[in-house]
Symmetry: C2
Subunit: 191 residues, 2 copies
DNA sequence: ACGGCTGCTATACGCCTGTATAGTTTGCTA
DNA sequence: TAGCAAACTATACAGGCGTATAGCAGCCGT
Protein backbone atom coordinates (compact mmCIF):
# COMPACT_ATOMS: atom_id res chain seq x y z
CA UNK A 1 0.00 0.00 0.00
CA UNK A 2 2.63 2.51 1.06
CA UNK A 3 4.74 1.69 -1.97
CA UNK A 4 1.80 2.03 -4.30
CA UNK A 5 0.88 5.39 -2.86
CA UNK A 6 4.48 6.50 -3.06
CA UNK A 7 4.69 5.58 -6.73
CA UNK A 8 1.43 7.40 -7.29
CA UNK A 9 2.88 10.41 -5.52
CA UNK A 10 0.14 10.58 -2.91
CA UNK A 11 -0.22 9.73 0.73
CA UNK A 12 -1.17 6.20 1.79
CA UNK A 13 -4.37 7.46 3.34
CA UNK A 14 -5.69 8.78 0.06
CA UNK A 15 -5.73 5.51 -1.78
CA UNK A 16 -7.60 4.01 1.12
CA UNK A 17 -10.01 6.96 1.03
CA UNK A 18 -10.78 6.22 -2.59
CA UNK A 19 -10.72 2.44 -2.67
CA UNK A 20 -11.55 1.43 0.87
CA UNK A 21 -9.65 -1.70 1.66
CA UNK A 22 -6.65 -3.24 -0.03
CA UNK A 23 -8.62 -6.16 -1.41
CA UNK A 24 -11.10 -3.72 -2.92
CA UNK A 25 -8.25 -1.97 -4.72
CA UNK A 26 -6.94 -5.28 -5.95
CA UNK A 27 -10.40 -6.22 -7.16
CA UNK A 28 -10.76 -2.98 -9.08
CA UNK A 29 -7.36 -3.43 -10.67
CA UNK A 30 -8.22 -6.99 -11.63
CA UNK A 31 -11.50 -5.89 -13.16
CA UNK A 32 -9.79 -3.11 -15.06
CA UNK A 33 -7.14 -5.37 -16.51
CA UNK A 34 -9.71 -8.00 -17.42
CA UNK A 35 -11.79 -5.32 -19.10
CA UNK A 36 -8.85 -3.99 -21.10
CA UNK A 37 -7.93 -7.48 -22.15
CA UNK A 38 -11.45 -8.16 -23.37
CA UNK A 39 -11.55 -4.86 -25.23
CA UNK A 40 -8.29 -5.73 -26.86
CA UNK A 41 -9.64 -9.05 -27.99
CA UNK A 42 -12.82 -7.56 -29.34
CA UNK A 43 -11.25 -4.76 -31.31
CA UNK A 44 -8.41 -6.85 -32.67
CA UNK A 45 -8.52 -9.27 -35.52
CA UNK A 46 -9.05 -12.84 -34.55
CA UNK A 47 -5.79 -14.09 -33.09
CA UNK A 48 -4.63 -17.31 -31.54
CA UNK A 49 -3.87 -17.05 -27.82
CA UNK A 50 -0.20 -17.46 -28.61
CA UNK A 51 -0.28 -14.58 -31.06
CA UNK A 52 -2.12 -12.46 -28.53
CA UNK A 53 0.44 -13.18 -25.88
CA UNK A 54 3.28 -12.37 -28.21
CA UNK A 55 1.65 -9.10 -29.15
CA UNK A 56 0.94 -8.20 -25.55
CA UNK A 57 4.54 -8.81 -24.67
CA UNK A 58 6.08 -6.96 -27.59
CA UNK A 59 4.16 -3.74 -27.43
CA UNK A 60 5.52 -1.60 -24.68
CA UNK A 61 2.11 -0.14 -24.03
CA UNK A 62 0.70 -3.50 -23.06
CA UNK A 63 3.73 -4.91 -21.31
CA UNK A 64 2.73 -3.72 -17.81
CA UNK A 65 -0.70 -5.20 -18.28
CA UNK A 66 0.89 -8.40 -19.45
CA UNK A 67 3.10 -8.75 -16.39
CA UNK A 68 0.10 -7.94 -14.21
CA UNK A 69 -1.75 -10.83 -15.78
CA UNK A 70 1.19 -13.18 -15.41
CA UNK A 71 1.47 -12.24 -11.75
CA UNK A 72 -2.21 -12.84 -11.24
CA UNK A 73 -1.88 -16.27 -12.76
CA UNK A 74 1.12 -17.07 -10.65
CA UNK A 75 -0.53 -15.90 -7.45
CA UNK A 76 -3.59 -17.95 -8.16
CA UNK A 77 -6.24 -15.34 -7.51
CA UNK A 78 -9.69 -15.22 -9.02
CA UNK A 79 -8.52 -12.81 -11.71
CA UNK A 80 -5.80 -15.18 -12.78
CA UNK A 81 -8.22 -18.04 -13.06
CA UNK A 82 -10.69 -15.96 -15.03
CA UNK A 83 -7.99 -14.88 -17.40
CA UNK A 84 -6.71 -18.39 -18.02
CA UNK A 85 -10.18 -19.85 -18.44
CA UNK A 86 -10.95 -17.03 -20.85
CA UNK A 87 -7.89 -17.83 -22.91
CA UNK A 88 -8.83 -21.50 -22.94
CA UNK A 89 -12.32 -20.71 -24.14
CA UNK A 90 -10.88 -18.54 -26.87
CA UNK A 91 -8.45 -21.27 -27.81
CA UNK A 92 -11.29 -23.76 -28.16
CA UNK A 93 -13.18 -21.46 -30.50
CA UNK A 94 -10.06 -20.60 -32.39
CA UNK A 95 -9.06 -24.24 -32.85
CA UNK A 96 -12.51 -25.14 -34.08
CA UNK A 97 -12.25 -22.56 -36.84
CA UNK A 98 -8.69 -23.53 -37.64
CA UNK A 99 -9.64 -27.18 -37.91
CA UNK A 100 -12.52 -26.28 -40.18
CA UNK A 101 -10.17 -24.24 -42.34
CA UNK A 102 -7.74 -27.13 -42.51
CA UNK A 103 -4.94 -25.32 -40.74
CA UNK A 104 -4.61 -27.53 -37.68
CA UNK A 105 -5.43 -31.16 -37.13
CA UNK A 106 -8.57 -32.24 -35.30
CA UNK A 107 -8.15 -33.60 -31.79
CA UNK A 108 -9.85 -36.48 -30.08
CA UNK A 109 -10.60 -34.07 -27.23
CA UNK A 110 -10.42 -30.46 -28.46
CA UNK A 111 -11.21 -28.93 -25.09
CA UNK A 112 -8.49 -30.89 -23.33
CA UNK A 113 -6.03 -29.97 -26.05
CA UNK A 114 -6.87 -26.28 -25.80
CA UNK A 115 -6.48 -26.36 -22.04
CA UNK A 116 -3.21 -28.19 -22.37
CA UNK A 117 -1.77 -25.84 -24.97
CA UNK A 118 -2.78 -22.66 -23.16
CA UNK A 119 -1.57 -23.71 -19.73
CA UNK A 120 1.66 -25.07 -21.12
CA UNK A 121 2.46 -21.94 -23.06
CA UNK A 122 1.52 -19.63 -20.22
CA UNK A 123 3.21 -21.76 -17.58
CA UNK A 124 6.35 -22.22 -19.60
CA UNK A 125 6.68 -18.50 -20.04
CA UNK A 126 6.01 -17.94 -16.37
CA UNK A 127 8.61 -20.45 -15.24
CA UNK A 128 11.30 -19.11 -17.50
CA UNK A 129 10.56 -15.55 -16.43
CA UNK A 130 10.58 -16.28 -12.72
CA UNK A 131 13.84 -18.15 -13.04
CA UNK A 132 15.62 -15.25 -14.66
CA UNK A 133 18.10 -14.09 -12.05
CA UNK A 134 17.69 -10.34 -12.35
CA UNK A 135 14.46 -9.24 -13.90
CA UNK A 136 13.62 -5.60 -13.90
CA UNK A 137 10.17 -4.48 -14.87
CA UNK A 138 11.72 -1.99 -17.25
CA UNK A 139 13.34 -4.52 -19.56
CA UNK A 140 10.40 -6.85 -19.33
CA UNK A 141 9.37 -6.43 -22.97
CA UNK A 142 12.88 -7.26 -24.09
CA UNK A 143 13.05 -10.30 -21.85
CA UNK A 144 9.78 -11.65 -23.18
CA UNK A 145 10.92 -10.93 -26.70
CA UNK A 146 14.05 -12.98 -26.24
CA UNK A 147 12.03 -15.71 -24.60
CA UNK A 148 9.47 -16.01 -27.37
CA UNK A 149 12.31 -16.13 -29.85
CA UNK A 150 14.07 -18.96 -28.07
CA UNK A 151 10.79 -20.82 -27.89
CA UNK A 152 9.83 -20.33 -31.52
CA UNK A 153 11.85 -23.09 -33.13
CA UNK A 154 11.02 -25.86 -30.64
CA UNK A 155 7.37 -24.90 -30.74
CA UNK A 156 7.17 -25.01 -34.52
CA UNK A 157 9.09 -28.26 -34.68
CA UNK A 158 6.82 -29.83 -32.11
CA UNK A 159 3.66 -28.47 -33.67
CA UNK A 160 4.45 -29.62 -37.20
CA UNK A 161 6.51 -32.75 -36.65
CA UNK A 162 5.86 -33.92 -33.11
CA UNK A 163 8.67 -35.59 -31.20
CA UNK A 164 7.86 -39.28 -31.23
CA UNK A 165 8.97 -41.34 -34.19
CA UNK A 166 6.07 -43.77 -34.29
CA UNK A 167 2.48 -43.94 -33.12
CA UNK A 168 2.89 -46.84 -30.74
CA UNK A 169 2.65 -44.92 -27.47
CA UNK A 170 -0.44 -43.01 -28.53
CA UNK A 171 -2.11 -46.09 -29.92
CA UNK A 172 -1.40 -48.06 -26.76
CA UNK A 173 -2.88 -45.30 -24.67
CA UNK A 174 -5.95 -45.07 -26.86
CA UNK A 175 -6.40 -48.82 -26.74
CA UNK A 176 -6.09 -49.02 -22.99
CA UNK A 177 -8.28 -46.06 -22.17
CA UNK A 178 -10.95 -46.13 -24.85
CA UNK A 179 -11.47 -49.87 -25.05
CA UNK A 180 -11.20 -51.60 -28.46
CA UNK A 181 -8.67 -50.08 -30.84
CA UNK A 182 -9.92 -48.07 -33.75
CA UNK A 183 -12.57 -46.45 -31.63
CA UNK A 184 -13.80 -43.08 -32.93
CA UNK A 185 -12.44 -39.78 -31.76
CA UNK A 186 -14.75 -39.42 -28.87
CA UNK A 187 -13.87 -37.96 -25.53
CA UNK A 188 -14.55 -40.31 -22.73
CA UNK A 189 -16.86 -39.29 -19.97
CA UNK A 190 -15.05 -39.02 -16.68
CA UNK A 191 -16.62 -40.99 -13.91
CA UNK B 1 8.58 -19.59 11.56
CA UNK B 2 5.98 -19.85 14.29
CA UNK B 3 3.85 -22.12 12.19
CA UNK B 4 6.76 -24.34 11.32
CA UNK B 5 7.74 -24.67 14.95
CA UNK B 6 4.12 -25.37 15.91
CA UNK B 7 3.89 -28.16 13.37
CA UNK B 8 7.15 -29.53 14.64
CA UNK B 9 5.77 -29.38 18.16
CA UNK B 10 8.55 -27.20 19.51
CA UNK B 11 8.94 -23.59 20.48
CA UNK B 12 9.81 -20.97 17.87
CA UNK B 13 13.04 -20.21 19.65
CA UNK B 14 14.36 -23.72 19.24
CA UNK B 15 14.35 -23.80 15.49
CA UNK B 16 16.21 -20.52 15.49
CA UNK B 17 18.62 -22.00 18.00
CA UNK B 18 19.38 -24.85 15.63
CA UNK B 19 19.28 -23.13 12.27
CA UNK B 20 20.12 -19.54 13.06
CA UNK B 21 18.22 -17.37 10.70
CA UNK B 22 15.18 -18.10 8.58
CA UNK B 23 17.08 -17.93 5.33
CA UNK B 24 19.57 -20.42 6.71
CA UNK B 25 16.73 -22.83 7.44
CA UNK B 26 15.37 -22.32 3.97
CA UNK B 27 18.78 -22.95 2.49
CA UNK B 28 19.15 -26.21 4.44
CA UNK B 29 15.72 -27.35 3.33
CA UNK B 30 16.53 -26.50 -0.27
CA UNK B 31 19.79 -28.40 -0.09
CA UNK B 32 18.09 -31.40 1.48
CA UNK B 33 15.39 -31.55 -1.17
CA UNK B 34 17.89 -31.12 -3.96
CA UNK B 35 19.98 -33.92 -2.43
CA UNK B 36 17.02 -36.26 -2.18
CA UNK B 37 16.04 -35.52 -5.73
CA UNK B 38 19.52 -36.32 -6.99
CA UNK B 39 19.62 -39.52 -4.98
CA UNK B 40 16.33 -40.50 -6.46
CA UNK B 41 17.59 -39.91 -9.94
CA UNK B 42 20.78 -41.86 -9.35
CA UNK B 43 19.21 -44.91 -7.80
CA UNK B 44 16.32 -45.05 -10.21
CA UNK B 45 16.32 -46.39 -13.71
CA UNK B 46 16.85 -43.86 -16.42
CA UNK B 47 13.60 -41.95 -16.75
CA UNK B 48 12.43 -39.05 -18.80
CA UNK B 49 11.75 -35.90 -16.80
CA UNK B 50 8.06 -36.34 -17.46
CA UNK B 51 8.12 -39.87 -16.09
CA UNK B 52 10.04 -38.69 -13.07
CA UNK B 53 7.53 -35.97 -12.38
CA UNK B 54 4.64 -38.37 -12.72
CA UNK B 55 6.29 -40.78 -10.34
CA UNK B 56 7.08 -38.04 -7.85
CA UNK B 57 3.51 -36.95 -7.87
CA UNK B 58 1.91 -40.36 -7.60
CA UNK B 59 3.90 -41.79 -4.75
CA UNK B 60 2.61 -40.37 -1.51
CA UNK B 61 6.07 -40.55 -0.01
CA UNK B 62 7.43 -38.11 -2.53
CA UNK B 63 4.42 -35.88 -2.87
CA UNK B 64 5.50 -33.38 -0.17
CA UNK B 65 8.90 -33.12 -1.78
CA UNK B 66 7.25 -32.60 -5.12
CA UNK B 67 5.10 -29.72 -3.92
CA UNK B 68 8.15 -28.24 -2.22
CA UNK B 69 9.93 -28.26 -5.55
CA UNK B 70 6.98 -26.78 -7.37
CA UNK B 71 6.77 -24.02 -4.81
CA UNK B 72 10.45 -23.32 -5.15
CA UNK B 73 10.06 -23.03 -8.90
CA UNK B 74 7.07 -20.76 -8.54
CA UNK B 75 8.78 -18.51 -6.01
CA UNK B 76 11.81 -18.20 -8.23
CA UNK B 77 14.51 -18.88 -5.67
CA UNK B 78 17.93 -20.30 -6.34
CA UNK B 79 16.73 -23.81 -5.47
CA UNK B 80 13.97 -23.61 -8.03
CA UNK B 81 16.35 -22.51 -10.71
CA UNK B 82 18.81 -25.26 -9.86
CA UNK B 83 16.07 -27.83 -10.01
CA UNK B 84 14.75 -26.68 -13.36
CA UNK B 85 18.18 -26.39 -14.89
CA UNK B 86 18.93 -29.87 -13.61
CA UNK B 87 15.82 -31.26 -15.23
CA UNK B 88 16.73 -29.54 -18.49
CA UNK B 89 20.21 -31.02 -18.43
CA UNK B 90 18.73 -34.46 -17.80
CA UNK B 91 16.26 -33.93 -20.61
CA UNK B 92 19.06 -33.09 -23.01
CA UNK B 93 20.91 -36.27 -22.15
CA UNK B 94 17.78 -38.31 -22.24
CA UNK B 95 16.71 -36.98 -25.63
CA UNK B 96 20.13 -37.66 -27.07
CA UNK B 97 19.83 -41.30 -26.11
CA UNK B 98 16.25 -41.51 -27.28
CA UNK B 99 17.18 -40.02 -30.64
CA UNK B 100 20.01 -42.50 -30.98
CA UNK B 101 17.62 -45.33 -30.17
CA UNK B 102 15.18 -44.06 -32.74
CA UNK B 103 12.42 -43.32 -30.27
CA UNK B 104 12.13 -39.58 -30.74
CA UNK B 105 12.93 -37.37 -33.66
CA UNK B 106 16.08 -35.27 -33.80
CA UNK B 107 15.74 -31.55 -33.32
CA UNK B 108 17.43 -28.67 -35.06
CA UNK B 109 18.29 -27.34 -31.61
CA UNK B 110 18.12 -30.14 -29.04
CA UNK B 111 18.99 -27.93 -26.08
CA UNK B 112 16.29 -25.42 -26.92
CA UNK B 113 13.78 -28.21 -27.36
CA UNK B 114 14.66 -29.77 -24.01
CA UNK B 115 14.34 -26.42 -22.28
CA UNK B 116 11.05 -25.79 -23.97
CA UNK B 117 9.59 -29.17 -23.13
CA UNK B 118 10.66 -29.12 -19.49
CA UNK B 119 9.53 -25.59 -18.74
CA UNK B 120 6.24 -26.12 -20.55
CA UNK B 121 5.44 -29.31 -18.72
CA UNK B 122 6.47 -27.93 -15.36
CA UNK B 123 4.82 -24.59 -15.92
CA UNK B 124 1.62 -26.09 -17.24
CA UNK B 125 1.34 -28.26 -14.18
CA UNK B 126 2.09 -25.31 -11.94
CA UNK B 127 -0.52 -23.10 -13.56
CA UNK B 128 -3.24 -25.69 -13.41
CA UNK B 129 -2.44 -26.47 -9.79
CA UNK B 130 -2.34 -22.82 -8.83
CA UNK B 131 -5.69 -22.19 -10.41
CA UNK B 132 -7.45 -24.97 -8.57
CA UNK B 133 -9.85 -23.19 -6.24
CA UNK B 134 -9.41 -25.26 -3.11
CA UNK B 135 -6.21 -27.19 -2.96
CA UNK B 136 -5.32 -28.95 0.23
CA UNK B 137 -1.89 -30.39 0.67
CA UNK B 138 -3.45 -33.66 1.74
CA UNK B 139 -5.15 -34.42 -1.56
CA UNK B 140 -2.22 -33.16 -3.54
CA UNK B 141 -1.27 -36.57 -4.93
CA UNK B 142 -4.81 -37.11 -6.11
CA UNK B 143 -4.98 -33.69 -7.72
CA UNK B 144 -1.76 -34.26 -9.60
CA UNK B 145 -2.94 -37.69 -10.63
CA UNK B 146 -6.10 -36.27 -12.15
CA UNK B 147 -4.07 -33.55 -13.80
CA UNK B 148 -1.58 -35.88 -15.43
CA UNK B 149 -4.47 -37.96 -16.67
CA UNK B 150 -6.22 -35.01 -18.27
CA UNK B 151 -2.97 -34.01 -19.89
CA UNK B 152 -2.08 -37.45 -21.20
CA UNK B 153 -4.16 -37.51 -24.36
CA UNK B 154 -3.31 -34.01 -25.61
CA UNK B 155 0.36 -34.61 -24.90
CA UNK B 156 0.47 -37.87 -26.80
CA UNK B 157 -1.49 -36.44 -29.70
CA UNK B 158 0.81 -33.46 -29.88
CA UNK B 159 3.97 -35.51 -29.50
CA UNK B 160 3.09 -38.04 -32.20
CA UNK B 161 1.00 -36.04 -34.63
CA UNK B 162 1.70 -32.37 -33.98
CA UNK B 163 -1.08 -29.86 -34.47
CA UNK B 164 -0.31 -28.14 -37.71
CA UNK B 165 -1.52 -29.74 -40.92
CA UNK B 166 1.35 -28.69 -43.16
CA UNK B 167 4.97 -27.60 -42.83
CA UNK B 168 4.56 -24.12 -44.24
CA UNK B 169 4.87 -22.18 -40.98
CA UNK B 170 7.95 -24.06 -39.88
CA UNK B 171 9.57 -23.81 -43.29
CA UNK B 172 8.87 -20.10 -43.48
CA UNK B 173 10.45 -19.60 -40.08
CA UNK B 174 13.48 -21.66 -41.01
CA UNK B 175 13.86 -19.75 -44.27
CA UNK B 176 13.60 -16.36 -42.62
CA UNK B 177 15.84 -17.07 -39.66
CA UNK B 178 18.48 -19.35 -41.14
CA UNK B 179 19.01 -17.54 -44.38
CA UNK B 180 18.70 -19.47 -47.67
CA UNK B 181 16.45 -22.50 -47.46
CA UNK B 182 18.13 -25.86 -47.10
CA UNK B 183 21.12 -24.45 -45.27
CA UNK B 184 21.10 -26.11 -41.87
CA UNK B 185 23.05 -24.45 -39.08
CA UNK B 186 23.05 -27.69 -37.16
CA UNK B 187 22.65 -31.26 -38.10
CA UNK B 188 19.36 -31.66 -39.84
CA UNK B 189 17.64 -35.03 -40.19
CA UNK B 190 14.66 -34.50 -42.38
CA UNK B 191 11.83 -36.95 -42.52
C1' DA C 1 28.35 -33.59 43.75
C1' DC C 2 29.57 -30.23 40.45
C1' DG C 3 30.46 -27.04 36.68
C1' DG C 4 29.32 -26.78 32.02
C1' DC C 5 27.21 -27.74 27.80
C1' DT C 6 23.05 -28.71 25.14
C1' DG C 7 18.14 -28.81 24.16
C1' DC C 8 14.46 -26.15 25.01
C1' DT C 9 10.94 -22.39 26.51
C1' DA C 10 9.13 -17.75 27.54
C1' DT C 11 9.01 -13.22 26.59
C1' DA C 12 10.01 -9.13 24.45
C1' DC C 13 11.95 -5.93 20.91
C1' DG C 14 11.78 -3.67 16.42
C1' DC C 15 9.98 -3.60 11.99
C1' DC C 16 6.59 -3.65 8.48
C1' DT C 17 1.74 -3.79 6.99
C1' DG C 18 -3.07 -2.81 6.62
C1' DT C 19 -6.26 0.02 8.73
C1' DA C 20 -8.52 3.83 11.30
C1' DT C 21 -9.17 8.70 12.69
C1' DA C 22 -8.56 13.52 12.98
C1' DG C 23 -7.19 17.41 10.69
C1' DT C 24 -5.84 20.33 6.58
C1' DT C 25 -6.03 22.04 1.92
C1' DT C 26 -8.44 22.69 -2.49
C1' DG C 27 -12.00 23.82 -5.54
C1' DC C 28 -16.62 24.59 -6.72
C1' DT C 29 -20.92 26.84 -6.02
C1' DA C 30 -24.51 30.07 -3.82
C1' DT D 1 -16.77 36.14 -0.63
C1' DA D 2 -18.61 32.43 2.40
C1' DG D 3 -19.35 27.84 2.94
C1' DC D 4 -19.11 23.23 2.22
C1' DA D 5 -17.92 18.92 0.23
C1' DA D 6 -14.25 16.47 -1.77
C1' DA D 7 -9.42 15.53 -2.16
C1' DC D 8 -5.64 14.91 0.53
C1' DT D 9 -2.21 14.48 4.64
C1' DA D 10 -0.37 13.22 9.23
C1' DT D 11 -0.29 10.27 12.72
C1' DA D 12 -1.55 6.49 15.38
C1' DC D 13 -3.20 1.75 16.37
C1' DA D 14 -3.18 -3.32 16.16
C1' DG D 15 -1.38 -7.49 14.49
C1' DG D 16 2.04 -10.45 12.45
C1' DC D 17 6.69 -11.28 11.36
C1' DG D 18 11.70 -12.47 12.12
C1' DT D 19 14.80 -11.95 15.61
C1' DA D 20 17.19 -11.42 20.15
C1' DT D 21 17.85 -12.40 25.11
C1' DA D 22 17.25 -14.52 29.54
C1' DG D 23 16.32 -18.45 31.95
C1' DC D 24 15.29 -23.49 32.99
C1' DA D 25 15.86 -28.67 32.81
C1' DG D 26 18.59 -32.67 31.79
C1' DC D 27 22.73 -35.07 30.53
C1' DC D 28 27.89 -35.76 30.87
C1' DG D 29 32.71 -36.35 32.26
C1' DT D 30 35.66 -35.57 36.16
Amino acid sequence: MREISARAGVSPGLIRHHFGTKDALRAECDAEVLRRYRDLKVEGIRMSPTETMAMLAELDDFAPMFVYILRSVRDGGEAGREFVEGMIAEAIDFSEDAVREGVIKPSRDPAARARYLVTSALGGLLVQLTLMPDLDLSDMPQAIHRLTESIMLPTLELFTEGVLVDRSVLDEYLASSLGPPGAPDEERADT
